[in-house]
């Protein structure tokens, strides 16, 4: 059983990001990049499936610039068997990535595809669902537990107000929530081994996929800064201000 894990290169979660002064996007110069944390959970889950003798091969795939190889290398060090980079310098939207992954899916025919539920940079949270729609396979999103038995995937989903358990036929697209697992540390021997694992490079053109943008980013702005608070002298003054300035009480 093959498991495919799409991973995205994003700004490291511990970095405080800045918006470019001209409002065209984020300032990524010299910023530490990492595997999207939700995708890392996906890799961990796939590697655990392999360790449990359920999966036979774990393939990490990334769509983006050449530098994504660094993140794919991390996935190989964490236990993926091989990696595919679909290299492009285009600005990518979820639909374009879903289409590319559909093409990879047709090539590889994995039985399980594990997405991160969203990337921590653009926070769209769409790729997994779009992919499931394009391929027509079952989807179990926001998974906090995953069990594979008898050709079925039992997925516990984190939904508003609780948990929902669904039973899905394979092949299946899963998206990971935070509580699915805690990713391991890559061991030094595995880091060294990762160097020798295969990494194929292809492109959207080779796969026959048009990744052209359908949307245009007009402006990126940081959230407005909170104004400084004030000190009031008395309760009466506070009530007065709440009533007449903030207008939150009658």
């Amino acid at each position: 059983m093959k498991v495919l894990v799409p991973v995205k290169r994003v700004v490291d979660a511990n970095v405080k990001v800045r918006v470019k002064s001209d409002g065209t996007g984020m300032d990524l110069a010299n910023v530490k990049m990492a595997v999207n944390p939700f995708c890392e959970i996906g890799i961990e889950e796939a590697v655990r499936l392999k360790e449990a003798d359920i999966a036979t091969e774990v393939i990490a795939v990334s769509v983006g610039a050449s530098q994504c190889k660094e993140q794919l290398r991390t996935c190989l060090a964490l236990g993926a068997d091989r990696a595919i980079l679909v290299e492009t310098d285009e600005e990518l939207e979820p639909l374009a990535i879903a289409k590319v992954l559909e093409a990879i899916y047709e090539q590889e025919r994995p039985e399980i595809v594990i997405f991160g539920k969203q990337s921590i940079d653009s926070d769209n949270g769409q790729t997994g669902q779009m992919f499931a729609a394009l391929t027509g396979i079952a989807q179990g999103t926001f998974a906090s537990e995953l069990r594979i038995t008898d050709g079925k995937a039992e997925v516990v989903r984190e939904i508003d107000g609780g948990l929902q358990t669904v039973l899905l036929s394979l092949p299946v697209a899963i998206s990971t929530d935070l509580r699915l697992n805690t990713p391991r540390y890559a061991s030094l021997p595995n880091i060294m081994k990762a160097k020798k694992k295969p990494m194929d490079v292809t492109s959207p053109g080779d796969l026959g996929v048009d990744v052209g943008a359908r949307t245009t980013v007009l402006n990126v702005a940081p959230p407005p800064e909170r104004a400084a608070g004030i000190k009031v002298e008395s309760v009466d003054e506070l009530v007065d201000k709440l009533r007449h300035e903030a207008k939150v009480i009658e």
Binding site: N14, S66, E70, Y185, A186, S187, L188, P189, I191, M192
Partner: protein, 403 residues
């Protein structure tokens, strides 16, 4: 298909992808595993609880980051000097970084000189250290000095039947109390005009007759010890290596240890500088933030430049050792510059923090005290300057315009 680095037009020194990945793993380990434990410890703690230590060691074991200086045939995971430097720098970025980096999670194993011993010695003393069942100290320095042991050591060892009888004193011995054994150097022959002095290495156990330990309270929380030998009797089988050739075994071990020693100091100082940068950006003054002041900016710039230079010297020495060349002078250079730079940088960080800089709830005052020791331990700055100057003078004869 170029690799990322070429596309960034960066032709200078760069760590390998593997070491960058390793560094990132350790940074996460420090953030997610070590700091939460440290936050519960007293500010001057010298270690964490047993349960935490066992858990951290198990995780480090799974990461393949224990027993880094133990040869493979004895169950070790030996790594390059460069990897040791990276691990040392990152794992020192914590409150206990000076003397228990990453709360002692990584590394481990006996002083490497034990592997020069007999199969019996390796089995009795070396292997139990690898398995974490024993701990050892090394005793070279004496009240007469530590930088020129060949001539300074006055502890005497006289052969008496099947035993050697040791008399003398050792000073400033780290980790002596509570250790299961130690490797102790004593004089077995004085130097004469015809024959040089001879020093021999002995494996001593604290249970041997005639050995006693006295704690020496110092500027840091972790005390070194004085060891008193009064007719201490050591079995003949506990001579490590050949009689009279004690320093042959110790030399490269001492030199190689200086590189991660410097790297660890740089780690603490880098963390201090990074902390200070966070602080000065949020500390308002009458007109603007502290970070807007030139006086502060110069301290930050000088510190960053010096730390980068120090790190490059560490990498330079490590890469030389990894290339199989003698890194003796290079190790002296990075030890001297790394420890002195780190002291200056932490001093500036404290200045930028003001009162908070010397508060015990912050790690800065602790690093400040401990970094003072680092300019003395592993050979004081002045001895390394001598080594560097002698080497330079020996190999340099006036350049192009004065030869």
């Amino acid at each position: 298909m170029g690799i990322a680095i070429e596309e960034e037009n960066h032709y200078g020194f760069r760590l390998s992808d593997e070491l960058i990945l390793l560094r990132d793993q350790i940074r996460r380990f420090m953030r997610e595993e070590v700091k939460p434990i440290e936050d519960t410890l007293p500010h001057d703690a010298i270690g964490c609880g047993r349960e935490d230590r066992i858990r951290l060691r198990a995780m480090a074991e799974a990461m393949g980051l224990t027993r880094l200086t133990v040869p493979e045939e004895y169950g070790g995971n030996p790594v390059s000097a460069m990897a040791r430097a990276v691990i040392a720098e990152e794992s020192s970025k914590c409150r206990l970084g000076g003397y228990a980096p990453a709360l002692g999670a990584f590394g481990g194993g006996p002083p490497n000189i034990i592997w020069g011993g007999t199969p019996d010695q390796i089995e009795r003393y070396g292997i139990p250290c690898v398995e974490g069942k024993m701990r050892a100290f090394v005793a070279i320095t004496e009240p007469t000095g530590g930088s020129d042991p060949r001539n300074n050591i006055s502890t005497r060892a006289e052969r008496d039947g099947d035993e050697w009888v040791l008399n003398g004193r050792k000073m400033w011995i780290t980790g002596a109390e509570g250790a299961d054994f130690g490797i102790l150097f004593a004089r077995t022959r004085d130097g004469t005009a015809e024959a040089p002095p001879e020093i021999t290495a002995f494996i001593v156990e604290p249970t041997f007759f005639g050995i006693n330990f006295n704690e020496i309270k110092v500027i840091r929380a972790l005390s070194p010890y004085e060891i008193i030998l009064e007719n201490c009797r050591v079995p003949v089988g506990n001579v490590l290596g050949t009689v009279g050739q004690g320093f042959g075994v110790a030399q490269s071990w001492l030199v190689d240890a200086r590189i991660p020693y410097a790297a660890g100091c740089i780690g603490m100082a880098q963390e201090a500088l990074d902390m200070a940068c966070g602080w000065v950006k949020q500390r308002p003054t009458r007109d603007g933030m502290l970070a807007d002041k030139q006086a502060i900016q110069w301290m930050i710039a000088d510190s960053e430049v010096e730390l980068r230079a120090a790190r490059m010297l560490v990498y330079d020495a490590a890469s030389k050792v990894d290339a199989g060349q003698s890194g003796k002078v290079d190790a002296s250079i990075c030890k001297l510059y790394g420890t002195e730079t780190a002291g200056r940088v932490v001093d500036r960080a404290i200045q930028m923090f003001g009162g908070m800089g010397v508060a015990q709830e912050m790690p800065l005052e602790r690093w400040y005290r401990e970094l003072r020791v680092k300019r003395i331990g592993e050979g004081p700055s002045e001895v390394h300057r001598m080594v560097i100057a002698r080497d330079k003078l020996r190999n340099t004869n006036g350049g192009v315009y004065f030869s």
